[in-house]
């Protein structure tokens, strides 16, 4: 019996027709295509994208220059210089992240004792010339200022897991 079916299958292209039927079905099915960049796929609250420096509600920058992120960064992408500010607090005079080196492992955020350096949901940043992706402290703070609401929301959502 099997021999007979096999014989017919051989010249009836049975399995090819079956495959075509499958693709044909999907031809008329609803498309799952996402029209990037106008629409985006869902993004979780743990997403590790572009870095940002945060501030307290008072406007004071959070970073205290402890350099844990600089120490833990496996790619040595972070460069910090610190000094004593006039009010006696420990502050950075320089906080650079070289995004070309960064491997987005999230260790900087994990190590930060004051939640100053965070990774945001932003993934479509770009640079047009060399050096554009060398983010300095004002650039990082600007990112933080712009997206603080989302950043705070994401940290709150993730707080119980960390």
């Amino acid at each position: 019996m099997e021999k007979i079916t096999n014989f017919f299958k051989t010249f009836l292209l049975f399995e090819l027709v079956k495959g075509m039927a499958l693709t044909g079905r999907y031809f008329f099915a609803r498309k799952i295509t996402v029209q990037f960049p106008e629409e985006k796929t869902p993004q979780g609250f743990r997403f590790r994208g572009l870095h940002a420096q945060r501030r307290y509600a008072s406007g004071e920058e959070r970073c205290i220059g402890c350099k844990l992120c600089e120490a833990v960064c496996p790619a040595l992408a972070i460069n910090i210089e610190t000094e004593e500010r006039e009010d006696g607090t420990r502050r950075t005079t320089r906080y650079d992240i070289d995004l070309m080196k960064c491997i987005f492992c999230g260790f900087c955020e994990e190590s930060c004792p004051v939640d100053a350096i965070v990774e945001t949901r932003i993934l479509e940043y770009h640079g047009e010339k060399r050096g554009d992706l060398y983010y300095t402290k004002p650039m990082l703070l600007a990112v933080g200022d712009k997206y603080e609401e989302q950043i705070a929301k994401d940290r709150a959502a993730d707080a119980k897991y960390r």
Binding site: I64, G65, C66, E70, A71, T82, R90
Partner: protein, 782 residues
């Protein structure tokens, strides 16, 4: 000897030592905070608790003496539980400061908490707060809440520094470390407390918040300041010296460092650094390329050598220059045909020149100072000039030695001084003659007639008696004695005193390379002029190596006149300084941290070091500059590729040990007078004015030791002049004068006024010794 067993390891150690020392011997680490090998035992941190067989409770390893057959367990359940418990208590009141604490990463508390503590906290209550303190410009005590009361700093002050500037007040939970009624900590060894502090309670103010321990690369170096040649660990980040810590060398600086060595690095990063070669054209300074500057200098030197004669060229260097620099300088000058080269800028009496058997040195290894039982210090501001030698002398005294001093000032040496003769400078030789005479009487020896004529006073007799009874005597001449106008006389007298009691005789040495200068032959040898002569009879051209003429010389007045009169002054310097007034070419050279080189310290130890960082800007190592200058002058023998080649040539065929000799022959002893009675100057070189680098170390300049110089006089002298302490007076010497604040110091002999040298405020005055006049300025209350 006791045989004990630690964690199953057999150790043999002499009786009376402690378990922690035995463990160290066996290579077993026992955690500890308050224990320090150089300090007394306090046993107050309890971290080193170990289990000892047959002891019902764990015992502190640092305070438990070994007994034969003892069995110690450092990691048994009982010991670990005890250590964990202690750690938990230590952390109870420790603030959550790690992220902002400078100690983070090199903190003993952190390390031991991770190594021996529990990994979770149980403490819920309030932590104690300690009010921040302020103890001066070097040590930050803003976060005393971090203190775990190990009292290392307190014990350091008491036992090493010689003065208890920090103490523990209150008890129990309220115990805190503080200075006495908000005094500042002024000890010249205070920085060591920062090293000792196992937590971040005492931190370095200049270093504050600038770098983390793990970012710094460590480079070995040698201190360029005093003659001790302390070993340094220069810590570097991004081609910048961030801080300096001691490198342990038991024979030199042990594990300590003077504040001068430790904090002077700020001067290396000073804004006054010279970073481009400059030449003066038509009265205006221009930055030029190296080639142009060197050619300009070479051409000028060549013109003067060919025109006026090579003897019109003089070279002056500071004894803080490296052996290589000094060697090449003298080679350069000599190859041009001049013998005018000297590094002994603050010396005034050169009558022993040519009569010295070798290079003046300490006369013994540094570590031997601790073992002396009689020390005679002649003309030395020991604490300020040689902070760590002072510590060694202090240690000797603590062990029972008798210290005697002959000096013109009676600064507190922070140790028991058995006898002292404080006299005016011109009476010092006489006092030494008295001692010699009295000593000879004790020893039944014969002395020269010139000595016989001295009348032995009570102080001298007491000193002689003390020296005569000693077995291991040291007679040490300080900087003041070397700068003294009768230095040769003092040397001969000191030498004879030492010889009579079979002791060692030596010079403490002024600077890092005072011995090296002699080995490098950087002093006139044939018909040349010495430093004083070169300045007294102005030359047409000067080469200055690291010299700031108005601060580094014996007679700044004279030096400035000579510089201004010269046709060509080539200044090799790391800094822009007053040379801009009189120099014609400024060549930026690298300070010790940026060049390789060699210092020969006062015990004759040849210590070479490498540059810790690259030279700043266009500065270049001094030896390279001198080498190229030699090439441009078309002289042969300047084809060195490395500083080691220069050093090897300088020391080739030189047996350094044989070169060290304090003997002097052919200097006739004069009959020393008992003093003229007229007002004389006594001058010290303040600790933080001694060389170009410290003068620019900002934090050191804010210390009490760096306060503007006063005109210090005995109270009686003040009232004779009719001035009150705090009033301004005009101090005149030769043609110059300075307006200074008068101050009383009853420990000074009468007939002297003490005015510091090496400071801009007193640079207008003349020689460091000699007659001065002091007149009150009417209505000049400061």
């Amino acid at each position: 000897m006791a045989k004990i067993e630690i964690d199953g390891k057999q150790v043999e150690i002499e009786n009376g030592r402690t378990v922690i020392e035995a463990a160290h011997l066996a290579g077993i680490y026992i955690p500890h905070f308050c224990y320090h090998k150089k300090l007394s035992i306090a046993a107050n941190c309890r971290m080193c608790l170990v289990q000892v067989e047959k002891a019902p409770k764990p015992l502190p390893a640092c305070a438990t003496p070994v007994t034969d057959g003892m069995k110690v367990f450092t990691a048994s359940e009982q010991a670990v539980k005890a250590q964990k418990g202690v750690m938990e208590f230590l952390l109870i009141n420790h603030p959550l400061d790690c992220p902002v604490c400078d100690k983070g990463g090199e903190c003993e508390l952190q390390d031991l908490a991770v190594g021996y503590g529990s990994s979770a906290s149980r403490y819920q209550e309030e932590k104690r707060m300690v009010v921040p303190k302020e103890v001066g410009p070097l040590i930050s005590t803003k976060e005393m809440s971090r203190c775990i009361n190990c009292t290392r700093c307190v014990r350091f002050g008491q036992e090493i520094g010689g003065i208890m500037e920090l103490g523990q007040a209150f008890r129990g939970e309220h115990a805190e470390i503080m200075s006495f009624v908000s005094n500042s900590v002024d000890s010249e060894l205070s920085g060591n407390m920062i090293d000792l502090c196992p937590v971040g309670a005492l931190t370095s103010k200049p270093f504050r918040f600038t770098a983390r321990a793990w970012e710094l690369s460590h480079r070995r170096s040698v201190s360029p300041h005093d003659s001790l040649g302390s070993n340094l660990t220069v810590q570097v980040k991004n081609n910048r010296v961030m801080r300096v810590l001691p490198a342990e060398n038991e024979e030199i600086n042990e594990c300590w460092l003077s504040d001068k060595d430790r904090f002077s690095y700020e001067g290396l990063n000073s804004g006054e650094r010279l970073t481009k070669p400059m030449i003066k054209q038509n009265g205006a300074w221009q930055e030029v390329e190296w080639q142009a500057a060197l050619e300009y200098a070479a051409k000028g030197l060549r013109q003067i050598a060919d025109g006026a004669g090579a003897e019109h060229i003089g070279a002056l260097a500071t004894p803080h220059s490296t052996l290589e620099e000094l060697y090449l300088l003298q080679k350069l000058v000599r190859s041009v045909g001049s013998d005018n080269v000297d590094f002994r800028l603050r010396q005034s009496d050169f009558s022993a020149d040519g009569k010295q058997a070798g290079a003046p040195w300490l006369g013994m290894p540094i570590a031997e100072i601790n073992t002396r039982d009689r020390i005679l210090l002649v003309g030395s501001f020991l604490r300020k000039d040689h902070p760590l030698l002072a510590h060694r002398a202090r240690d000797a005294v603590k062990k029972g030695a008798q210290a005697s001093i002959v000096h013109s000032a009676d600064d507190d040496l922070l140790m028991n001084v058995a006898n002292k003769a404080i006299v005016a400078p011109d009476a010092m030789a006489n006092v030494l003659a008295q001692i010699l005479k009295a000593l000879a009487a004790e020893k039944q020896a014969v002395v020269e007639a010139s000595v016989q004529s001295a009348e032995v006073g009570s102080a001298a007799a007491a000193i002689a008696k003390s020296l005569a009874s000693g077995e291991r005597v040291a007679v040490l001449l300080g900087n003041f004695a070397q700068q003294h106008p009768q230095a040769a006389q003092l040397q001969v007298l000191g030498q004879q005193i030492a010889a009579l009691c079979g002791g060692k005789f030596g010079f403490l040495g002024e600077a890092a390379n005072s011995v090296g200068g002699h080995l490098a032959k950087a002093l006139p040898r044939a018909n040349g002029m010495n430093a004083a002569a070169m300045l007294a009879a102005p030359r047409k051209a000067y080469i200055l190596l690291n010299v700031e003429a108005e601060l580094d010389t014996h007679n700044p007045q004279q030096a400035l006149v000579a510089m201004k009169a010269a046709d060509l002054v080539v200044a090799l310097s790391a800094y822009k300084h007053q040379a801009t007034d009189y120099a014609d070419v400024l060549l930026p050279i690298a300070p010790f941290s940026e060049t390789s080189g060699t210092f020969v310290n006062t015990e004759g130890r040849v210590q070479s070091f490498k540059g810790a960082i690259k030279p700043l800007g266009e500065a270049r190592p001094g030896w390279k500059v001198l080498r190229v200058l030699g090439n441009l002058l078309n002289e042969t023998g300047f084809e060195y590729d490395t500083s080691e080649a220069v050093r090897d040539e300088a020391l080739s065929g030189v047996d350094v040990a044989a070169q060290l000799n304090n003997a002097v022959q052919g200097v006739a002893l004069e009959t020393a007078g008992a003093g003229s009675g007229s007002l004389q100057r006594v001058s010290d070189v303040p600790i933080y004015s001694a060389d170009a680098i410290v003068r620019r170390a900002a934090s050191l300049q804010n210390t009490r030791d760096a306060e503007a110089p006063c005109a210090l006089m005995h109270g009686a002298e003040l009232s004779r002049l009719g001035v009150h302490a705090g009033e301004q007076v005009k101090v005149s010497q030769g043609e110059g004068s300075a307006i200074l604040v008068a101050a009383a110091d009853d420990r000074l002999p009468q007939g002297v006024v003490r005015v510091a040298a090496g400071h801009a405020a007193t640079a207008g005055l003349g020689a460091m010794f000699g007659a001065v006049t002091v007149e009150p300025i009417t209505g000049g209350r400061a």
